[in-house]
Structures are given as C-alpha cells and as structure tokens.
C-alpha cells in the first residue's frame, strides 16, 4: 500500500500503518505494515511542528509540506469532529446566526464515509494539520500527522488549558484556609518524623492484589 496514494478515498483500513516502541522491551522495536522487515531501532527524539491552518485539502497539498493523504486524513478527522445538528436552528442556537451550513457532498463523504445526509454544522474556518517527527538511533525519521482534536468540543466545559490556570488560582484561594489548618494539623502530626510522608496511597493493596480491570 502506498502512503502517497493519489486517489481521494483510500481503501478503508481499521489499523494503524505503523507502530513502534521507544523504551519498552529488551531492544526497542519498530515495525512497519505491508511487509517491510522489522527493524530494531529506538526513538531518540520527538519534535512537533507548529500546526498550520488550511482552508482546503488543495491548499494543504499546494503548501508542499504534507503528503496529499496526510492532508486528506487531517481534513476528514477535523470534519468528523465537527459537531452535527439535525436542524439549522439547533446549530445556530449554539454557534450563532449565520454561522452554520449544510455540508457539501464532499464534506459529507469525508465526515461520515457516505454521501448525503441531512445535517448541519458550523461552517469550517479551515482546518489544522500538524506533524510529529520522531527521530531514531538509526537515523530514520517517522513523520506522523497528529490531528486535533482528540477530544470533542463540549459546550459546557471550559478550555482546560486556560481554565486550569484560573482554576488553580481559584482552588488555591478557596482552599487557603482549609489548607493552613490541614498543614497545621499535619505539622503537629509530623513533629516527630521526617517532613515527607509516604505510603499514603496504595498501602492496603496487598489485600486485593491488583487494580487493573
């Protein structure tokens, strides 16, 4: 199978094209699908490039940074992640008046794998493609497109990235009083011992053996 297949719709395939291990096992391990021999190599460095925004697959291809299939994969991934609504009104209620559209035939195809479908989505302002470059001790580089978002956008939730900083401050403030009392209690309890306590988690584990499920 060619990674540079020019056909717009690659045959469906449910498994990753290649996987490797970086640190696990006796010798680090890399395998590539489709009959190439396994090579023992180790990932020594991973770099991310800045994700770039494109308006269309053609623009992505024209930028001459990513392969056509990488551009298409990222496009499909972002389309799949776009929230879908059964009516224009529902979509506009969440995304604002005039912000929504019905998918084009090509978008419906890319998003759901089948053409048509009567749904609405917020108009796409372009999509992001980023890549991750893993270098190995054998001097090979794996380039892997990483597609955002891994997570669905949930309306009721903050952006964790920014929220976490603010939240940290809030929690810090809110718990200040509580913590100082806890710390005082702890300090009292610790007066006869080293200042770091351990075995506070997991010490009852022997009764149950393990925690995986």
């Amino acid at each position: 199978m060619s990674k540079h297949d020019q056909t717009p719709h690659l045959p469906r395939r449910k498994r990753s094209a290649r996987l490797s291990l970086a640190v696990m096992g006796a010798g680090a391990f890399g395998l590539t699908a489709c009959g190439q021999p396994p090579q023992e190599e180790q990932i020594t460095e991973v770099r991310f490039d800045e994700p770039r925004s494109f308006q269309s697959v053609e623009e992505c291809v024209a930028a001459n940074i990513y392969t056509r299939s990488a551009c298409e994969d990222a496009y499909s991934a972002s389309l799949e992640a776009v929230p879908r609504f059964s009516t224009l009104e529902e979509c506009e209620a969440e995304h604002g008046e005039g912000a929504c559209t019905a998918p084009t035939e090509a978008q419906a195809q890319a998003a759901t794998g089948s053409s048509g479908g009567s749904w609405f989505m917020p108009a796409m302002m372009g999509y992001m493609v980023g890549s991750m470059m893993s270098n190995t001790n054998r001097g090979r580089s794996f380039e892997r497109v990483y597609q955002e978002p891994v997570y669905r956008n949930r309306q009721n939730q903050g952006n964790w990235n920014t929220a976490s900083t603010q939240a940290t401050q809030r929690v810090t403030q809110r718990n200040e009083a509580m913590r100082s009392s806890v710390v005082q209690n702890r300090q009292a309890a610790q007066s006869r011992q080293a200042s770091t306590q351990r075995s506070g988690f997991g010490s009852r584990s022997s009764a149950r053996g393990g925690w995986g499920s």
Partner: protein, 388 residues
Amino acid sequence: MLRIDIPERNNWKALAHELGFHFHTIGGEPYWKEDAYYQFTMEQVEQDIEAPTEELHEMCMELVDKVCHSNALMQRLSLPEHMWDSIHHSWKSGQPHLYGRMDFAYSGTGPAKLLELNYDTPTSLYEAGFFQWVWLEQAIEQGILPRHADQYNSIQERLINAMAHLGDRIEARTMHFSCIKDNAEERATVHYLQDVAVQAGLKAPFIYTEDIGLRAGMDHFVDLDDKPIHALFKLYPWEEMADDDFGEQIPQLNTHWFEPPWKAILSNKGILPLLWEHFEGHPNLLPAFFENASSPPLPAGWVRKPFFSREGSNIELITPSGQREAVDGPYTDSPWIRQAYHPMPRFGNNHALIGSWVVGDRACGMGIREDVGRITKDSSCFVPHAIV
C-alpha cells in the same frame, strides 16, 4: 464473528520477551493465545462495535454532566463527599481523560450489549494496542492470514495523539506514571503507557503509588526527591485513592490526575442503572437496577455486581435456566447493582467478551478475552482478532 483455529507464529514467545510482554503466561497458564483468532467482518466492527461505542461514550459524558450537578446522584453512587468538589471541578474545567474500555456481550448478530465500563484503570491495553497489532502484521507476513486481513486497532496511534494533546497542557510536558508495587502485569501496562508518552514527546518518570509523597507547604504531591508532581497517571482506582490516608488531601493539592476525578463516576457500576434510567430501552444497554434492602433474592436471568470490583470479583449470576455461577473476592463493602443476564457467545468451551477501547473521545480498537466460565476474570485469555 467466528473463532478460527490457525497456526501460531514461530518463536512468538521469544518475540514477546523481547517486546516486554512477560505476562503472556501467568502462573503457568497461557494468557496470550494465538492458536485461534476471532474473525469479524468490517460491517460488524464498524456498525456493531465502533459506532455503538462512540454513542455510548457520548451518553456517558451526558450522565457525567448530570451527576456532577447533583449531590443526590453523587450520593447514590457512594462517591465520598470530600471528593465531590474535585469531581465537579475536574469536569467543569474540561480536564481531559485519556482512555477507557467498554465490555460487550456480542455474538456477531444483533446489538452488542454493554456489560460494564472500565473507565478508570483499564488494563489489557498493551496486548490489544500493540502485541495484537504485531501479531496481525506477522501473521500476514508468514502467510497465516490473507494479505487483505485487517484489524480494528488504532489504539496506540490514538494514545500518542492524546498524550501529545495532554503534553501541551501540563507543566514541563512531564507526566509521572504510577502503579502499586509487586504486580508485574500492571507495571507492564504502565510501562507501555510511559512508552507511548515518550513517543508523544513527554517526559514520563515512574513512581510507585506507595511512594507518592505528601510534604508540608507543598502545593502538589511530591516524588521521591520531594519535587512536585504536576501531572500523574495512576493505575489505581479513585474509590481507593479517596479512602486512603492521603485521600482527603487530593482536593487541597494541585496535582492533575489521569484519569481525572470525574472518571470516578464511570468506574462505578452504579453508572449502569443510571444509564438504564436515562436511556431505558437503548439497544446496547441491558436493564439494570440498584439493589436495596427490600430486593428479593437474585432471580434467574439476573447478575449481581458490586459498585466497586475488578476482574470479575464478587460477581454472581443465575442463568435463565437456573445455573448459578459466582466469583469470590474482597469487594463486599460497597452497594450492589443487578443487571439482566445476557449470554456471551460461546465457541467450543469458551465464552468471548469484547473489550472496546475509547481513547480521548474516539472508539479506536478492540481486544477479545475468553474464559470457560461466564464471568471474565483476570485469568481469562486474550485472543487476537482480525477483520477478514
């Protein structure tokens, strides 16, 4: 869905050791078995497993939101009160989770039925995400499987993407990884996740759960050098953490946990009756109810499960024809639920269970466990699958 006998790969045990899969045999009994595989069609995978998994996952997210806004539901799930704020806050601030597994009874026809969620400390990840994939590639290469064979498995790739996403959002791109001492299988699962994290560009130091430190004046739990742990993956369940000696400190400190505290809602079998209450009649759900003091003895055709249990422990079932099966265990101190019995498909002497993986918010692969009994346990074998 078929179970098909095939030859094993030459020297797969040596390869397993080379690849860090030391628990392919547990206590002298095989855990990984490749003298057969489960065969699926693309339609079975996409329509009956992948699509329902994503749908159920969204239903679960809807329920998490409901529970987070209801002290009554928090109470109903026996979530300790000192964790309510952390649970609510971790959800409202959008703290991402990493992964989870749904267990299905599915025979190849009809809807897959959700038996339970393993959304806090799922294992069998390395086997499903990596070793199974290697098996397929080599089985094709060695002519054991046809060239067009495929597998429902982008688990590792998705994990790397998710880790990269998390890495961008945590201090110094550093995630500590932890599990308890003296458990080789869990250590291997965590080792695998560390590997994934490294491939995603994170620093991924290890610390045993028991070694996590608490230090006066620090805003975070600390590592063995008394340095703050900003982000920590734990293969250790929330209900235990909350009850442990350091449990009350969790809400006071700023360490970010993976899975996040809101996963406590989904790792609890009380979620099964709640799902049924909110989505009664959904084709992928089984009727489920909370047991209470006035519940009659377990009738035929029902299964009894504790809120908190792992690997099949303390589960009791009575088939519609009255056969009783039970697994003993230590989980007797939590409330119980009852779920309608739904048979797992049987192939020869084996009952097969589908584990359907979710990474981030995507369904991305599966692993099959089989057992001679009707209750899947930690000793149940892992058998690979292929789409042919």
